[in-house]
């Protein structure tokens, strides 16, 4: 099988595009300006009737501006990937630009140091804003970012003495050896290429997968130990810092900054660049910047109201993109390519997986895992929802290496109980101890990190990610390398990627999803989604697993595979709490059963014995009459 990176099939095209781009950029300002001028004139030729070949300084500056915009857009892209929307990127650019002006003019710091200071200052402002802001809802945060733009401009106007107010701040120097428009080009190219590489490395790292995971499904992310807030905050700080870098590059290029350049229109431009190209993709912002950058310039030539007409075009493009390419041009292109490929190479019949094989492979994977000794002990758990006593004083213990079935009629409180154990609901009273450690009061992601895995009644997988990425996200919890290490791809970071990749493929193979490794989860059947969820739980290496109706919707063959996998997990010393309606399945696999009704335990013990108890029969049938067809009892 072809060796894949974590970003899967998309990497080769990206690499070629990146190399081509770098080669073009390396040909120097004169050639690049000629090229862009030529291409633009080709596009507008039907209107203007002329094709331009000579270079001019205007085009050189355009290219440099475009690369600066790219830096800001790449940062914003990282934020959008996590599902956070900001219409405030121009404020970060403003902060960077003015910091650069202060540093180089007022404090006479060297250029390169000023550049770094500007990034750091913009990043810190982002941190201060994001710390409270990202706790708010998506839309509220959008409004806060717009407020950031307003306030930033207000402050520039207010502190007139320092900033020059509306008249602007002039005479910002370029660095010594790069003090012409043509030579400054190289400074910008280096910054843009470095930014691109950093963003690429982040997107392909555990941080990139985390970002996608919280965007796709926060509940599932929490079950893998990922706290929604952290990837979003990290992305916002990085996005702000890169906005600051863009501003710090912009100020010396223009030698002059004034607040109106950073008004909300610029933020909208950045949003458009990222969304049109495709958020969360590597090439999306590049494509978006190249296309969108020309809009205001083209508009300027045809109207005396450039601001309003540009905005009108932005609005139209935004609406049209929601209609036609909601995930951007890159995703549209991939979808098209997949469709063509699928037509060319018909799907081969999958070879059925044997239950024995699944058992063997899963057991092998789990063989060397450390085993816990204490299991899960729940005592006196209570949870009232509204006026309903959904969980009303339940005691229950899941021993290591035991399958404990939790059964009860619909609405008896089973799922609520699982949510109390895994922390999605906080218990009103009682204790939940895992391997001797009290979990009450901790968040779901902390419980996952403590060794508690779970699946959901409706499979909670990360749509928009491949099966491989889904599983790697769970493995990432054990990474040792930090973000900076992944940014520069140290040996430790690369080893994590390699090992996580191999482990994920092995786990997916073990549960019979081998041929789906690179596929987007959208292509899975509902049964396969359950197995993917199971693969993710295995990857987490939990002490205890909570399974919420894992057999629901599975075909009989699939149930056999599930049973084999669960037996192997149990055999490895993992405790399993199983909520399931499929009686035969429960009877085959459960070591012990607890029956609850109205949030209270009504029976406990050997599964077969429990089923005969009058309270249990009454709970299901409303009378003590034993059912005539016991196989049909829906436990």
């Amino acid at each position: 099988m072809e060796r894949l990176t974590s970003a899967g099939r998309r990497s080769r095209g990206t690499l070629i595009a990146a190399v081509v781009t770098v080669l073009i950029l390396a040909s120097g300002p004169d050639l690049v300006a000629r090229l862009t001028g030529f291409v633009t004139s080709l596009v507008t030729a039907p209107v203007t009737g002329e094709v331009v070949l000579e270079a001019n300084r205007f085009e050189v500056r355009n290219v440099e501006m475009m690369l600066i915009y790219l830096v800001a857009a790449l940062g914003l892209n990282l934020l959008f990937q996590t599902g956070v929307i900001s219409i405030g990127q121009s404020a970060s650019v403003l902060v960077g630009a003015y910091t650069m002006a202060f540093c180089t003019v007022d404090f006479e710091l060297p250029f390169w140091l000023s550049l770094i200071v500007s990034m750091v200052v913009a990043g810190i402002v982002g941190l201060v804003l994001g710390l409270p802001g990202l706790r708010l809802g998506t839309f509220t945060f959008v409004m806060v970012t717009i407020g950031y733009v307003y306030v930033a401009v207000d402050m520039v106007l207010h502190f007139r003495k320092q900033t020059g107010g509306g008249d602007g701040f002039a005479n910002i120097p370029k660095p010594g050896r790069f003090d012409t428009l043509e030579s400054y080009y190289w400074v910008i190219v280096i910054a843009a290429v470095l930014t691109f590489v950093v963003i690429r490395n982040i997107l392909k790292s555990p941080m990139g997968r985390e970002g996608k995971a919280v965007e796709s499904n926060t509940v599932a992310a929490a079950s893998l130990g990922i706290r929604e807030y952290m990837p979003k905050l990290r992305a916002f700080v990085l996005a702000s810092a890169l906005g600051g870098l863009a501003g710090a590059l912009y100020a010396p290029l223009m030698t002059f900054v004034a607040p109106e350049a950073f008004a909300i229109n610029l933020s909208i431009l950045f949003v458009l660049m990222v969304l049109l190209g495709g958020r969360g993709t590597l090439l999306g912002p590049l494509i978006g910047v190249v296309i969108v950058y020309r809009i205001p310039l083209a508009v300027e030539e045809v109207t005396d109201q450039p601001g309003d007409v540009s905005l009108f075009v932005y609005g139209a493009v935004l609406l049209l993109s929601v209609h036609f390419v909601p995930r951007g041009l890159m995703s549209g292109y991939w979808a098209l390519r997949d469709r063509i490929r699928a037509r060319r190479t018909p799907e081969e019949e999958p070879t059925p997986v044997e239950a024995a094989e699944v058992h063997e492979r899963v057991a092998e994977l789990l063989a060397d895992w450390p085993r816990n000794e204490a299991g899960l002990v729940v005592a006196g758990a209570k949870k009232h929802l509204g006026g309903v006593k959904a969980v009303d004083g339940v005691d229950l213990a899941v021993e290591p290496g035991q399958v404990h079935a939790l059964i009860g009629p619909n609405g008896s409180g089973k799922t609520t109980f699982l949510n109390v154990i895994s922390g999605y609901l906080q218990a009103d009273e009682g204790s939940v101890r895992l391997a001797g450690r009290e979990l009450i009061g901790t968040r779901p992601e902390q419980r996952a990190r403590a060794g508690l895995g779970r699946t959901f009644q409706t499979p909670s997988v990360f749509d928009g990610m491949s099966c491989l990425e889904n599983v790697m996200t769970a493995i990432d919890i054990r990474r040792r390398a930090s973000l900076p290490e992944f940014v520069i791809r140290t040996g430790r970071a690369r080893r994590h990627e390699r090992e996580a990749y191999d482990e994920a493929v092995a786990i997916l193979t073990a549960v019979g999803l081998e041929r789906h490794v690179e596929r987007d989860v959208a292509q899975l059947t509902s049964g396969e989604r359950r197995f993917l969820e199971l693969a993710r739980v295995i990857a987490l290496r939990p002490q205890v697993v909570l399974l919420d109706e894992p057999a629901a919707g599975l075909r009989s063959g699939e149930i056999e595979l599930l049973e084999a996998a669960l037996r192997a997990i149990r055999g490895a010393g993992v405790g399993i709490l199983l909520v399931e309606h499929h009686v035969d399945f429960v009877m085959r696999i459960a070591d012990v059963a607890t029956v609850i009704d109205f949030g209270q335990v009504i029976a406990h013990g050997d599964p077969r014995a429990v089923r005969q108890e009058p309270e249990v029969i009454e709970a299901y049938f409303g009378s003590a009459e034993p059912p005539s067809h016991q196989g049909e009892v829906h436990a």
Binding site: F80, G133, G147, I264, D308, L311, G315, L425
Partner: protein, 295 residues
């Protein structure tokens, strides 16, 4: 601060706040039925002022007729937002990125188109009616400003009654509680969502027209007014109508007093600070209901 200054700031603050309250009600009524926080809400206010200029000043219709016509025009535009922006966003399956981006795009289209057609400059809006001013204990009270506050209060009461008592209002509530269940019970969810956009647009256009003599008309006010209206709604607790009224009036007061004390440069900073602080302490706003998160 003398009592006189205090009282005059109070009146100015409530007058401005009433406008925010009305915009907030527009947000809420649309959110309650469609689950969408409509970015274009502020542009409906802007259209209220600018279509008002067109009909009342340029065409010269009588004030009452111009008001009704303005409200109808904006309501139709607002209703159009549903098929043009909201439905495609829902179809795209992109959650927040869908509707935020789509309604944002629609909002930019409205403001830039207005600026292109009618010019970007401020338009004076003559007084609609002279309600006089009174001097009470040295405090100057502007009758028109007071009546704007009354309009907001009456609208809040009327909306509340409509939502609670009328069959349509009950259907809207049912959609808010559970959209799928409402659909199963035969409630025309999509049609009522369009209606909620029309009503949300109409309320905001009305206050745009009525407050234009105080604030003047301009194609550029939409984003700012939308922001403030949203902050009012968020402070009060979305989607509570009572919350919108109180949140708006509160925001008007905060804005007026902070400007008085700290100067206009810190007006935006102070309202955003209040927003973040209030929501940090009480994420659902003053009158919002907390909901239990379930998996």
């Amino acid at each position: 601060m003398s009592f006189q200054v205090f009282a005059e700031l109070m009146i100015a603050g409530l007058g401005a706040g009433a406008i925010y309250s009305m915009i907030a009600m527009g947000y809420n009524i649309i959110f309650a039925t469609s689950g969408v926080l409509n970015f274009a809400q502020g542009e409906f206010y802007m259209l209220g002022t600018m279509v008002g200029v067109l009909l009342y000043v340029t065409v010269g219709l009588p004030a009452a007729l111009a008001l009704v016509a303005t409200v109808i025009v904006v309501a139709v535009l607002a209703a159009l937002e549903h098929p043009l922006a909201v439905q495609p966003a829902a179809r795209s399956g992109e959650e927040a990125f869908g509707w935020v981006v789509a309604t944002f795009g629609f909002s930019i289209l409205l403001s830039s188109a207005t600026a292109m057609l009618m010019g970007p400059r401020l338009r004076p809006f003559p007084d609609i009616i002279d309600l006089g001013t009174w001097q009470v204990g040295g405090v100057r009270i502007d009758g028109y400003r007071i009546s704007i506050v009354l309009v907001a209060i009456v609208t809040a009461v009327a909306l509340t009654l409509w939502l609670e008592r009328s069959a349509t209002g009950q259907a809207l509530n049912a959609i808010h509680e559970d959209q799928d269940a409402a659909r199963l019970r035969g409630i025309p969810v999509s049609r009522l969502s369009v209606l909620s956009f029309a009503v949300g647009g109409a309320i905001v256009a009305m206050i745009g027209f009525l407050s234009a003599p105080l604030t003047t008309a301009s194609a550029a006010v939409g984003l700012t007014m939308g922001l403030k209206g949203f902050i009012a709604a968020a402070l009060g607790g979305i989607p509570s109508i009572k919350g919108a009224l109180v949140g708006g009036l509160l925001l008007g007061l905060i804005e007026t007093f902070s400007t008085h004390w700290a100067g206009g440069s810190f007006r935006n900073a102070s309202i955003f600070l209040v927003l973040v602080l209030v929501l940090a302490v009480r994420p659902v706003g003053l009158f919002g209901r907390g909901s239990v998160r379930a998996v």
